[in-house]
Amino acid sequence: MKIPVLICVLGLTSASSVEPSSTAAATADLHGELSRAVEQARLLLEHDAQAACTSLQAVVEAPQRGPWTEPARLLFAECNLRLGDLDRADSLWTALEKRGGPAAYSARYHRAELLYFSGDFAAATAVLAELAATDPSHVLANDVLALLAVCEEYAASAGLADISRAQLLERQGQSEAADAHWAALEEGADPGLAEWSLLLRAELHAQQEHLDEAMALYQRQIAHFPQGEHIVAAHLGLAALYERQGAIEQALKTYETALLQHPHDARAPEARLHIERLRHLRESG
């Protein structure tokens, strides 16, 4: 769910594809302002969706069109999603998808996300599968594949609805509301989903700088699912948190644990790298 990154990429792409106007400096200034507005909205989005929405609305409704327009619309739809107006978000993304262009892929992905959030996993799967086959080199392709994998793997599991709901609520900043779902998942979902839900929560908390919560979640995950599919991710996440807290030894030990316990995991080399780095750090004082 890398919305800011996406917007940047789209902006850059669009900017590079459109020739700069040479007619008037004023126009250029205006375009610059609009672009900046979009950028500001992107920064605002994580903290104040409403403000970002207001800011973007002006850009979206402005008669001027430029490379900022589609990123603005995408961001605007995202704002609507975060504000709970799913229909609006859907219509915006649908419009973008129909319009085609570089944003269409993103819009379609977001629509699939909406389907996922709304619990229509089959439809989401269908859209995602089609999307995945469309352009594997797209910057969102791995997100598409990740979500598709989830939809397919847990399609038969009741917990998937919970997790999708929890993810939506977390995205909308309603962590408290999401907790119920997380709790339900941790307690009642099948082990795979339960483990994954813990990981997701931990990562969210880590992103939100709730390090203790995140650490607790990681530890819980490690404790409950020592042979889980995401155990290495948990170890690495936990180790990273230790490192952020300055507990180098602890972090090192955690990395080492991950490496020793799962030397053949895809992230084992990453753990090894961290170990080397931390050892070097420790030795260098």
Binding site: V139, A266, E270
Partner: protein
């Protein structure tokens, strides 16, 4: 004077005198003759000796005459005077007859004198006395005959001398006499040597020797000359002949070719010139052979005019027309120098005919009208071309094979004969039973198909192709039975009887399930073993090449020995690649065999087919190219080039090795599955066989057959237990859970004492305790059913567990790759070389994991490894760029790496999909059931189309076609559904696709409102394909008909004689099926009949099952 008294005296005296005269003349003549003879003889002798000239000869002749005349004259002169004078004669008489005492003379003299001087009386008296005395005197005393006799003797002597001389010197004397006879004739003096040549002129046959006998008379020469010339005008050519004073010599002119003239000359003599005339012998100028072949050969008559060698079939009549160079008096054909056949003559032409029966020789003897025979007649060969035996070969199966499930064997054979194949018979025996013979009619109207070249029986059928469906379903065969069969072909030889040709003998085996599975397993084991060896070899090569590369980098030079060793290793590598391809071909055969025998499920066969393809792809063109490059580089003086080539090759070889390892692992996996399946199938088979025996027991049959079957069952049950244990042992390491379950089942079989109970059942049957046997049998059947069910369940669980595990593995790999992709994306902004490198290593970890999955399943999409390989390559390049602090350049590769990672995820997803769709037995069977159902619908549709074709064109027909089209469309949709449900069953899918293609054509026709013969044909084909497909697929699990025959041979010490029915129960249903199939039904209907009866069998078994 009285003369009357004198007269008698005178008379007497005159008579006496005449007699004396005569005597005298005769004597004189005798003397003269004797003298003449001697004179002439002397004359002739002298002439012979001296060859006088005519004067001399005449003179001598005269002398001879004179001498003769002189002698005569002398003789006459001496006696004639006495005789001519009476007085002197009278005196002569008185001297010879003293008593007369002058009385006679006196009488005579006195009578002439005057009477005066004598007394008449006295005179008379004297006369009388003289007369009387004369009368009484002996004339012989008076006339001396002795001189006559003496002269006669002299004459005789002379004659004797003449004869003697004649005898001694006959020729000479005759010639001399001839000359003396013509004394005045001047004769040429004959030579001293007289030459006589015999036969002188002669006529000989050209080339013969001309032999002469030359006689020499007179002086015998030492030498003679033979003078010879070709013609009277030509000069002589002389040749010396050594005679050496022989009386005669023989001389031969050898091998005379031309006529000539000759003479023999010696000294002063020369024979006349003779002629040797050469005549040509009779000869064959031309031969004309008229062959009349025996009727059976149906060969047309033939005339041959070149040569005289005869070549033909026994019984061929050959008429010879012999044209000679001259008119003949006789011609004979001589066979083998013994039997002569006289020819009919017509001038210079002779005709003879005979029949050839055996090889030999003949020659022709000719005699011309002069009696000359042909010399050295040519000996011509008589070659009898034996009627060849027909040749017959079974081309299909053309090898020892297993009986198909239908128990019908399609025999295809080719028979040929030099004239005509008259009969073909199938000769077979079951095991060691008596031989049975079945004539195969070579008539196209029967079930036997013949080629177009052999259609009418009246025409010669030199080549016959037959195709015969040999139905062995009525043979009551038991598993493990062997049928030894061959074909015999007879030709139409009516002379020496039909010749018989025989094909090679083949064996048809009615295999038991155990045999079939064992063979398939063995084949797989061998292939695995070969692959293992290749893999080990490859490993060694790989290590060696790497070692060489390192050494090369170190020393920058390879020794000659090292180079040679490297070349040898490379050659071995090339060979290894070929060996893998060969193994792929062998595997294909195994697959075909399993397909034919029904020992592989569709899934297994598909897997094996996949593995075969993998094997075919092990040696990639890239690797081959790398090998070629390396071989080329080996001769490059630059060590760096070689080191680089070695490196490249090693990489490719590593990939080769990995593919090989994967293939081996997959084969092992499939083999385990196959073994498991075999066990499950065999258990089910055992249960069915036990049920069958139980049913027969329930029907009151408790004969030898049932005992044998139960015995066979017992043995197979023991085998099953062994197989369970073996499979348990072999899977202990690979799959402990499965191994444990198998061991548990093996124990079950042991604990339940199935084998012992089966023996007990046999004993009970032998002891005529059917009730007890039945009870035991039912318990056994129940246990076997339970075992079969249990094993089936175990197999299902094993499959499900395998699939589940593989799915989890794939999902884990997918997740890992998605994370890697996301991580790769995160590195776009904040990139360090070591991070990128770690990412690449992580990806390699996933690659390993996927490879591990790939060794257990074929569900992975083919280009998966290539795609992830690209990702690794891009990551490597990105890491390199990052190491060079080229962040922008690295980003390009990072993006590409991410793309490939995503594509890999997609491919994994596809693989997962494949895995999910792979073989679900129940779904597969369901699809096949649907296909069978569709085939019946198609059959009905075909019949409807047939009826529609009979309708007159018009709106009615169009409506009917529209209806048909709609129905066909419906079938098409149903078939599409089946095709979709068969995804993952490649073989079945292909067959269904073929039906779809046909159906599309039919549908296109019907939708255009066309219903033609072609449409009908297509519809028929669709139906046939449907049946074939369903049968083929269905047969993979052994159809019911095949299962119904279960017993195998078992050593048995029971009753020594067989019951009258040989313990066999007539199979009523089979008989009914056979009768039904014998009816005049179309093939479609037959198929339905078969299915109908199969269904009855199934129902019966289901009903009778305990």
């Amino acid at each position: 004077m009285d003369h009357s008294s004198l007269s008698p005296l005178l008379t007497h005296l005159a008579a006496l005198r005449r007699r004396a005269l005569g005597l005298t003349i005769c004597s004189a003549l005798a003397l003269a003759l004797a003298a003449g003879l001697m004179s002439v003889l002397l004359w002739v002798l002298l002439e012979a000796l001296f060859f006088f000239s005519p004067p001399w000869r005449t003179g001598l002749g005269v002398l001879a005459l004179l001498a003769t005349g002189g002698v005569l004259a002398f003789a006459l002169k001496r006696h004639l005077p006495v005789l001519l004078s009476q007085h002197r004669f009278a005196l002569f008489v008185e001297r010879r007859c003293p008593p007369l005492q002058q009385r006679l003379i006196s009488a005579l003299e006195l009578s002439d004198t005057a009477p005066s001087f004598h007394s008449p009386a006295l005179l008379a008296a004297v006369r009388e006395r003289a007369t009387a005395l004369l009368r009484t005197a002996n004339p012989a005393q008076i006339l001396d005959r002795r001189p006559l006799y003496a002269y006669l003797r002299l004459l005789g002597g002379a004659a004797a001398v003449v004869l003697l001389c004649g005898a001694l010197f006959g020729n000479d004397l005759v010639q001399a006499a001839q000359r003396c006879a013509h004394p005045l004739t001047a004769y040429e003096r004959p030579p001293r040597t007289l030459i006589t040549v015999q036969p002188g002129n002669l006529e000989i046959i050209k080339g013969d020797d001309a032999t002469l006998q030359v006689h020499f008379a007179g002086d015998k020469p030492r030498r003679a000359r033979i003078e010879r010339r070709p013609s009277a005008e030509a000069p002589y050519q002389t040749e010396e002949l050594v005679v050496d004073r022989a009386d005669s010599v023989a001389y031969t002119f050898p091998q005379v070719q031309r006529s000539f003239r000759y003479a023999i000359a010696v000294g002063d003599d020369r024979s006349p010139e003779y002629e040797v005339r050469v005549i040509d012998p009779p000869a064959v100028k031309r031969l004309r052979l008229h062959y009349q072949y025996p009727a059976y050969s149906q060969l047309p008559d033939r005339i041959e005019e070149e040569g005289g060698d005869i070549q033909g079939l026994p019984g061929t009549r050959v008429a010879l027309e012999i044209a000679a160079n001259k008119p003949l008096s006789k011609a004979t054909l001589v066979l083998d120098d013994t039997l002569s056949i006289a020819a009919q003559l017509d001038g210079a032409t002779a005709r003879v005919a005979f029949q050839i029966d055996r090889p030999g020789a003949y020659h022709i003897t000719l005699v011309d009208r002069k009696g000359a025979t042909n010399r050295d007649p040519i000996r011509y060969a008589i070659q009898v071309r034996e009627d060849q035996k027909p040749e017959v070969a079974i081309v299909d199966p053309g090898r020892d094979s297993d009986l198909p499930e239908s128990l019908k064997v399609l025999l295809k054979a080719e028979a040929s004969d030099d004239f005509s194949v008259e009969e073909i018979a199938l000769v077979y025996r079951v095991n060691n039973g008596s031989e049975q013979r079945r004539a195969l009619p070579i008539n196209p109207s029967t079930e036997l198909r013949t080629s177009a070249s052999s259609v009418e029986s009246s025409k010669p059928q030199r080549e016959v192709l037959i195709s015969y469906i040999w139905d062995l379903s009525a043979a009551n065969l038991l598993p493990e039975d062997r049928i030894y069969y061959h074909l015999e072909a007879l030709d139409n030889n009516q002379v020496s009887g039909p010749q018989k040709g025989q094909s090679r003998q083949y064996v048809l085996r009615f295999p038991s399930l155990y045999e079939l599975y064992s063979e398939a397993d063995q084949a797989q084991e061998e292939q695995l073993s070969s692959l293992d060896e290749l893999a080990a070899e490859g490993q060694a090569h790989q290590e060696y090449i790497e070692r060489v590369r390192r050494e090369l980098l170190k020393s920058e030079e390879l020794s000659w020995e090292q180079k040679k060793e490297l070349e040898s290793t490379l050659a071995a590598e090339a060979e290894r690649a070929r060996a893998v391809e060969e193994l792929a071909a062998e595997l294909e055969k195994t697959i075909d065999s399993m397909q034919d025998e029904g020992t592989g499920s569709e899934e297994l066969l598909d897997k094996l087919d996949h593995i075969r393809e993998l094997m075919g792809d092990i040696a990639t063109p890239e690797m081959q190219q790398a090998l070629a490059d390396l071989q080329k580089a080996a001769s490059n003086p630059d060590p760096r080039v070689l080191a680089e080539a070695l490196k490249r090759f090693n990489e490719d070889q590593q990939a080769f090795q990995q593919r090989l390892d994967r293939t081996i692992a997959l084969l092992e996996q499939v083999r385990t599955e196959q073994q498991l399946r075999a066990i499950v199938e065999q258990a089910a088979e055992l249960a069915r066989r036990q049920s069958q025996i139980n049913r027969e027991l329930a029907d009151g049959q408790s004969g030898l057959r049932q005992q044998l079957q139960e015995g066979s069952l017992q043995r197979d049950t023991e085998r099953l237990a062994e197989q369970l244990q073996e499979l348990s042992d072999s899977t202990a390491e690979q799959n402990p859970a499965l191994s444990e379950q198998l061991a548990h089942r093996a124990e079950d079989v042991e604990n339940k004492a199935l084998s012992e109970r089966m023996r007990q059942m046999v004993r009970q049957m032998r002891a005529k305790s059917p009730g007890e046997a039945q009870q035991t049998g039912q318990a056994l059947a129940a246990d076997l059913d339970a075992l079969a069910e249990d094993l089936q369940q175990m197999q299902d669980e094993y499959r499900a567990a395998e699939k589940d595990q593989l799915s989890r593995e794939l999902r884990r790999a997918m997740r890992a790759l998605v994370q890697l992709s996301q991580r790769q994306e995160s590195l776009f902004a904040d990139a360090r070389a070591q991070d990128q490198f770690a990412l690449m290593q992580g990806t390699s970890q996933v690659v390993e994991r996927i490879a591990a999955v790939g060794r257990r399943t074929l569900a992975l999409t083919p280009n998966l490894s290539a795609t992830i390989g690209y990702a690794l390559r891009e990551m490597h390049d990105a890491a390199q760029r990052l190491g060079q602090r080229d962040v922008q350049g690295a980003r390009h590769f990072q993006r590409k790496a991410m793309r490939y990672l995503n594509e890999t995820v997609l491919l994994l997803r596809e693989s997962l999909d494949n895995l999910a769709k792979a073989q679900t037995p129940s779904a597969f069977a369901e699809a096949m059931q649907q296909l069978l159902s569709l085939s019946e619908q198609q059959s009905q549709l075909n019949q409807a189309s047939e009826q529609a074709m009979g309708q007159m064109p018009g709106p009615g027909l169009q409506q009917q076609i529209a209806r048909l089209s709609a129905q066909q469309q419906g079938l098409m949709q149903a078939l599409d559904e089946i095709a979709r449900s068969l995804r993952g069953h490649r073989g079945a899918q292909q067959r269904v696709q073929a039906i779809q293609d046909e159906m599309r054509d039919v549908l296109a026709d019907l939708q255009r409102g066309r219903l033609t013969q072609r449409t009908r044909q297509n519809q028929k084909r669709i139906y046939q394909r449907m049946l074939d497909a369903s049968r083929s697929i269905h047969s993979r699990g052994f159809d019911e008909k095949r299962r119904s025959i279960t017993a195998t041979d078992q050593p048995y010490a029971g009753p020594t004689t067989l019951p009258a029915d040989r313990g066999q129960t007539p199979d009523l249903w089979r008989e009914a099926l056979r009768q039904a199939l014998a009816g005049p039904y179309p093939e479609e209907y037959r198929a339905l009949l078969r299915r109908y009866y199969d269904q009855i069998y199934q129902d019966l078994q289901a009903r009778e099952a305990p």
